[in-house]
Symmetry: C2
Subunit: 332 residues, 2 copies
């Protein structure tokens, strides 16, 4: 069995910030809102290093496919898309940092990293926050902390989240227990694409829900230790399943591998399911010649928007399913 | 596309014969019935060649597994099994000829051959029938022909049948049309294990139904030409399906191959389905490195009784499913 941290696909930290004495985005007319985008750019692009590493994408200039791809890569949120007429995002070329402007708040600064690494990305986000606050004054109250459009984000206005693969909990039908326990600790578990989305491919996001009354340090410490204990329990679940249903688990893993290697037509949901089963096989060390990051990249690159981006929007859904199967075969 | 004859898995011819002035098996007590077995043996084992090529299996001496294996190999019929207390079969070592004694009739002589070859096996059966009639007098009427326990077999008392793979008809949902047309020509189409059995794996048996008023030659000529035209139509069906649903057909074929190569647990029905899809892939020349006889052997050797024979009856159904998957993987 691999080390438990291998169950983590991605870590993310985001800060919500608002400009002092400026109404929240939903209260702004188009001109004032777009002016915020310029203000943030002025405050951010202060060095030649930043200028060469980052690019601004104005949502009102982007096509549907680019927007969908940004969403699937977790670079833009559903709310940023809803605000497309006034919103933008500044994206690092490595796509590990994005600054969304005029989402629910004026600024949503997000840093991501593959695998389990909340501390590193918190440092990165903190540094960029310091940079921005040199030229922008953020709405802040000494009792309430950072002022945000939605009161649930008051305080640190920080959400730290980790994307985890929990096939053991899912197959043992225990995800609802985790959800209850997390809720009591001010944390939450969601599907792969955030609130309201389903946990396709047994992939979940676990994040802090409470932002007020705790320091960033407290939030990170609590979340890290909680996730580590969930990962321990996931490994116990996996070992129990493997012990009790050895051939059934092996069967699921190898069939999924056989189907991924051979199918000629595959919808994105089905791809996610089989990729999850193969990931489980790697986690359990049944499959030893496949690297986890190959699976994790396919989980993202076989999503509908990524397929449209790669093959053009003129493709029918069926043609995308054919090309998806082709991409997957070419990787294995 | 392979030649149409490749759609035929097996050809069989069987003659029903009854001893003159002896009641049919269901009217005999045990002693008289078992005496028939000895009489047939005396008439049959007349040369040292026959003695070395054939063995008698008395059903009352056989275990359940051996009986089931004989059934799955089409060497014994359900009725022979029902009569186990009085029935026997004389089997050629190559298992291409079997003489069932005390089935519905005193003698059921059956010759089989892989692939399409009704003429050759008819000659073989005819020769063995001549051999038997040198020492046995068969019940025969100049108007009714050979007298049989069931009047539907009167006349030639011959049934010729061909086991064919018809995935094109099945996927196009046209098997019932074939059945209707065959009925009008005095022929019939059945599932893989005869009357009342299902057409698992898209495998069917087509045989003459009418035995009275036609010569053996007529029956064989009609059946051959009818089957060849069904095989032509099957190829048209396959090409149409492939033309119209190219990626779906390829997907079915390759997924089945991937599953057969990777599954760790497989029930016999599922194995038949995937073997049928892979056979279709070979027929359509999508798969070029797999020989048809490998598939046809697996279709027989993965049946439940064959699995019991190979691994012992102590295995649970699940253990058999695990071993079946293992055998299939070892072949591919």
């Amino acid at each position: 069995m691999l080390e438990k941290e291998s169950l983590v696909l991605m870590s993310r930290v985001r800060f919500a910030r608002n400009l002092e004495a400026v109404p929240f985005p939903h209260m702004l007319d188009r001109e004032r809102a777009r002016d915020i985008v310029s203000k943030v750019e002025d405050a951010f692009y202060v060095s030649s290093a930043i200028k060469s590493d980052y690019t601004t994408h104005r949502m009102w200039d982007l096509g549907r496919t680019d927007i969908l791809v940004g969403f699937e890569k977790h670079l833009v949120s559903a709310k940023l898309i809803n605000n497309s007429d006034i919103s933008a995002y500044i994206l690092e070329n490595r796509e590990m940092v994005s600054l969304m402007v005029n989402e629910e708040d004026h600024i949503r600064l997000q840093c991501m990293q593959n695998g389990f690494g909340l501390r590193d990305i918190f440092k990165k986000a903190d540094m960029l926050d310091d940079l921005l606050s040199e030229r922008l004054t953020f709405a802040f109250d000494k009792n309430l902390g950072y002022i945000t459009a939605c009161p649930t984000n008051l305080g640190t206005a920080m959400r730290a989240s980790v994307m985890v693969h929990l096939p053991g909990f899912t197959l043992a039908d225990k995800v609802s227990h985790v959800a209850q326990a997390l809720a009591q600790m001010g944390m939450t578990i969601r599907g792969i694409y955030g609130e309201g989305s389903q946990a396709e491919g047994n992939i979940y996001q676990i994040s802090n829900e409470v932002t007020l009354g705790l320091s960033e340090e407290d939030i990170l410490t609590n979340l890290e230790s909680t996730i580590l204990s969930i990962l321990d329990e996931e490994q116990v679940n996996q070992m129990k399943l493997l012990g009790q249903y050895t051939s059934e688990i092996e069967d699921k893993v190898y069939r999924s591998l056989g189907i991924l290697m051979n199918a000629r037509v595959m919808a994105s949901k089905e791809a996610l399911y089989h990729l999850s089963m193969v990931r489980l096989g790697i986690e359990l060390e049944l499959l030893k010649d496949i690297e986890l990051n190959i699976i994790d990249n396919l989980i993202i690159s076989t999503q509908p928007g990524m397929m449209q981006k790669a093959y053009g929007i003129a493709l029918t859904e069926k043609e995308r399913d054919v090309n998806r199967a082709k991409i997957i075969r070419s990787i294995f």
